[in-house]
Every structure is written in C-alpha cells, then in structure tokens.
Amino acid sequence: MLATTIIYGFAGICLFVLGLRGVLLHTTALARILALNVCGAGVFLLFVVLAYRGAGMTPDPVPHALVLTGIVVAVSATALALALARRLREIDHD
C-alpha cells in the first residue's frame, strides 16, 4: 500500500466520522447541513484515494466519475435543505 493512500485514506475516514458526529450533535439546521457536507467530502476523498494508483499510473476514472456525481448530488441536497431552513425562519419571524 502506498503511503499516500494510507494518509489520505485516513483523512477521508476522519472527515466522514467528524461530519457524522457533527450532524448528530448540532441542532441548528445550517450547522447540520455543514456537517453533512463534511461527511460527504470524507466519502468522496475515500473514492479518490481508491482511484489513485501511484505517480506513474493513470488513475481509475470510475471513482472520479462517481465523485463528480456525488458532488452534484450533495450541492442539490444542500440547496433544498437551505430553502427549507429559510422558510422555517420566515415562518418563525412572521
């Protein structure tokens, strides 16, 4: 196993777990959405680490495509969550 794989792989696991913990511990909508995005970034990092095959080899493009899909899905979910959170704040201020 490459040192790079181990280093970034562990970083990915850390981001995933940190995000998960953040979602469970926070109660504000915006803070939870942030944590969810961190959590997703961790999973994406793991995918990209899988794709990396050392300096001399072309990386596996499949995980890259999956992560691209994942990034777009994450931003869509973020947009919906933020719209809901804003609506809630509006209702509370009326």
Binding site: L20, V23, V43, L46, F47, V73, A77, A81, L84
Partner: protein, 485 residues
C-alpha cells in the same frame, strides 16, 4: 423485450418534465403517465412470469463497466404495487388539492418520485442505488413540505437531514465494496463476495443507512412527524411506498447479494429491533391523538413485522418452508402498502371535511362519510391481520416459520402486536361510529373516496385470495444462496 425495463422509469420522468412546462395540464399529464406506468409494470410482471429474470445492460456496456437494470419476481411485483397505488393516489390528489397552483407544484414532484421508486426497484448497481436513494429522498422531502405549515417544514427538514445521513452511510459501504471487489454490479458482487471484514463493514454501513431510511426502531423517530404532517396523498405514498423500497433493499442485499455474510446473530439483532418496533409503534399508535399520527406510528409497527422475518429466513434451510416465509414477507409488504395508503387517504377525506383529524372528535363520521368509515374498517382489518386480508396469511406463515425454526420468542410479539393493533383500530372505529352532529351525502366525492376504497379492498380481499399465485410467481426470485439471478 428488455426495453420493457426502461419504461417504468422514463415515462414518469418525461411526464414530470412536461408537468413543469405545462403546469395547467398537470392532471391530464399525470393521469396518463400513471396509467402508462401501470400498463408497463403489468407488462413487466407478465414477462417476468413467462421468462424469469429480465436484465438489460444500459448503453450496451457489460454490467460492471456499465449499469444493468434487472427485474425478478420480487422487484416486479413491488413495481406493480407502486404503479397501482400511485395511480390511485394520483386520482385522489386531483380532488384533494383543490387549488390549481398547489397541484402545479405537486405533479412534477410526484411523477419524479414515481420514476425514482421504479428506478430503485429495477437498479442492479450499488452506486446507482445510492443515486436513486437520494432521488427518492429529495422528492419525498419536497412533497412532504408541500403543506407549508411550520410542523411540515420542521419534519421535512429533519427527514432530509436524517435521510442524507443514511445515504452517506450507504455510500461509505459502497466505497468499501468497490475497494475490495472492484465492481459495483450486484450480480457480479454476489459471485465474488467473501465472508470477511471488508464485507462485514460494508454490509454494516449499508444496512445502517437503509435502517434509517426504513425507520426501524430506534431510528424511527423522524417518521411520525414527517408522515403525519404531509398532505394526505403524500403521506400515503411515504408510508406505503417510500419506506417500503428501503426495506426492499435490505432484503435484496441480505438475501441476494451478501448471502455468504448473513450470520444468524445479525439477523437476530434486526429481528429484535423489529420486535421492539412492533410493540412500541403499536403502543404509540394506540395513544396517538390524531388519526394521521396513528397511521404513521402504525407504519413503524408494521415495518417491525417485516424485520421479524429476517431471523426466520436466516434460520430456515432452502426449501418450501423458506420459500413460504419469503412469500409471506412480500405479501406482508404488499398488503401493508395497500392498506396504509387507503388509511391515509381516508384520513385525508376526514381531515378535509371536518377540518381536523383528532380521534376524540370523530363522532358522527360514520353517518356523514359512510364510505370512508368503511375504508377505515377495511384497512384496519388488514393492519390487525384478520382474515381474509393478506396480512392474515403472512402472519400465519410467520408463526409457522417461528415454530419450524424453534424461534418461539417471536410468537408473543406477534400476538401482542396484533392485539394492540386491534385496540387502536377499534378505538378509531368506536369514535367514528359515535353519535355526532355531522351529516352529509352517502358519497362525499367519488374521486376521493373510491380510490381509498379500491386500495382497501385490494388489501383485504384481493391479496388474501390471490396470495397463492404470488407464491408461485416469487419462485423466480433468487432465494437460494448465490441466486438464480
């Protein structure tokens, strides 16, 4: 023939686009599309009946490099249920949303949800499943928030957050699978998975994600507010279909893909959670002040029954007994789908007529809305599990399997759960038949009450009588380790 597989996904997807572009034609577009989906689903069931498993490699690329769609007995029969329930709810919705603007918001999302459910049921690729899970989740959340009340928004936001957390866990499992086995195709995975840590961790993460989405106790807390505060047609779909497809994935993964890693101890743990869900959900349903909340808690309980089947399936050797138990779990899921959607639609009629759905104040409903009250009674029969409903047969098989495998512990759970279900159903009926100051025509509105009645009749009568055919059909489902798929 393999083209059959794409229509249940593409038809509602295209209709959803049209419904956005032509907002005033929503009813027409939605109705036609739902009908077309029903026809394509029936056709699909027919060809699975004739030919067994059908698969198509999308883009012509061999599965693994590309993505495959597959239909077997289990997925096609669930697809048919989704199509029937969706068509019926759609008809009801044209009446329920009496405001054209709200209907214009409803149709594109609704059709997209239908496409997403079908895509999930037919998907043969674990990453594609993640995308379909997200699609189901986002559309369900947006539909749940359509009511616009504060409670609905709060519930939708929580549903979204928890659902995303579940998807993330599922996706982390997909990473581990791809790292270990280098493929995302489910059939390819089924043939290479080994009983070792990578598989266990992947299965744990994916199952955790799906348990959150199928609201198994103690991850059920998001469900009652989300289902009780959505508009009635949406609640019906959420309870009958959306949580059901998450359970379908649990079945698929455990019995079909990861058979080698299915240890009795894990199945027991899920069964135990299911047992607690049955008791807790039924108890909370009994104490619920509102009819829709009651229906939502009853969903928690009924999902618990589905998980009770897992330790039994794990304990039974291949053979007729296992097939019977498998048929029973599918029958249970189907019956609940029809009965619960009928109950929610009935609750919606009452809520719109009376302006509330508080159970204590339902007096007079039986006289004012006799058809709807009949719907409540019929769906109640299916929820309790009285003959001739499909649930009765399913519970019978559940008990038989418990005796056969010596897992006696589930028998009192089923007994107490059924008694509690009887109690909450009769509590509602008792109030509905109480005298009250309301009266009305015998039939409030055909487009509202008849769909609910049709669903309730399917749950109580049709599924009970047609169950024999179902068992024969599910033979095509890959039930043996390694699978016939």
């Amino acid at each position: 023939m393999t083209d059959l597989l794409v229509w249940p996904i593409l038809l509602p997807l295209l209709a959803s686009l049209l419904a956005l572009v032509f907002p005033r034609r929503g009813d027409w577009i939605g109705g036609m599309a739902s009908l077309a989906v029903l026809i394509s689903a029936a056709w699909l069931v027919h060809s699975v009946w004739d030919n067994g498993v059908i698969a198509v490699a999308l883009g012509g690329w061999q599965p693994g490099l590309g993505i495959a769609l597959r239909a077997d007995g289990l997925s096609s029969v669930l697809l048919l249920m989704v199509a029937i329930v969706a068509l019926t709810i759609g008809i009801y919705a044209t009446r329920y949303f009496d405001n054209a603007v709200v209907r214009a918001r409803f149709w594109p999302l609704w059709l997209l949800l239908l496409a997403a459910l079908n895509a999930l049921l037919l998907s043969g690729d674990v990453f594609n499943l993640y995308v379909t899970l997200e699609l189901v989740g986002l559309t369900a959340v947006a539909l749940g928030a359509l009511g616009g009340s504060r409670d609905a928004i709060v519930a939708a936001l929580r549903y979204l957050t928890i659902g995303l957390l579940g998807s993330m866990a599922f996706l982390a499992g997909v990473v581990v699978l791809y790292a270990a086995y280098g493929t995302l195709d489910m059939v390819a995975l089924a043939s290479v998975v080994e009983d070792r840590p990578a598989t266990w961790v992947a299965l744990m993460l994916m199952t955790l994600g799906l348990l959150v989405k199928s609201a198994l106790f103690p991850m059920h807390f998001w469900l009652p507010p989300a289902h009780a505060n959505a508009p009635a047609p949406v609640s019906a779909a959420l309870s009958a279909l959306v949580v059901k497809v998450a359970f379908y994935l649990v079945l698929r993964l455990w019995l079909d893909v990861f058979t080698v890693a299915l240890h009795p101890a894990t199945a027991w743990m899920l069964g135990l959670l299911g047992a607690v869900a049955v008791l807790w959900g039924s108890y909370r349903a009994l104490r619920a002040p509102r009819l829709k909340l009651l229906a939502a808690y009853s969903t928690v309980a009924q999902l618990g029954y589905l998980f009770l089947f897992l330790p039994l399936l794990a304990g039974l050797p291949d053979g007729p007994a296992r097939e019977a138990a498998f048929g029973a779990v599918v029958l249970f899921a189907l019956t609940h789908g029809f009965a619960k959607s009928a109950l929610f639609l009935g609750a919606g009629v009452i809520q719109q007529r009376a302006g509330h759905d508080r159970i204590e104040e339902l007096g007079g409903t039986a006289r004012a809305l006799p058809v709807t009250t009949f719907v409540l009674a019929l769906s109640g029969i299916a929820l309790i599990g009285l003959p001739p409903s499909g649930t009765f047969l399913a519970k019978w098989q559940l008990l038989a399997a418990a005796v056969e495998t010596g897992q006696w512990v589930w028998i009192p759970v089923v007994a107490v759960g059924s008694l509690l279900a009887g109690a909450y159903v009769f509590r509602v009926l008792g109030h509905a038949f109480a005298p009250g100051d309301r009266d009305g025509s015998a039939l409030a509105a055909g487009r509202e009450e008849l769909p609910a009645l049709a669903l309730a009749l399917v749950a109580t009568v049709v599924l009970g009588l047609a169950a024999g055919g179902l068992w024969g059909f599910l033979d095509f489902a890959a039930m043996s380790p390694g699978g016939a798929r």
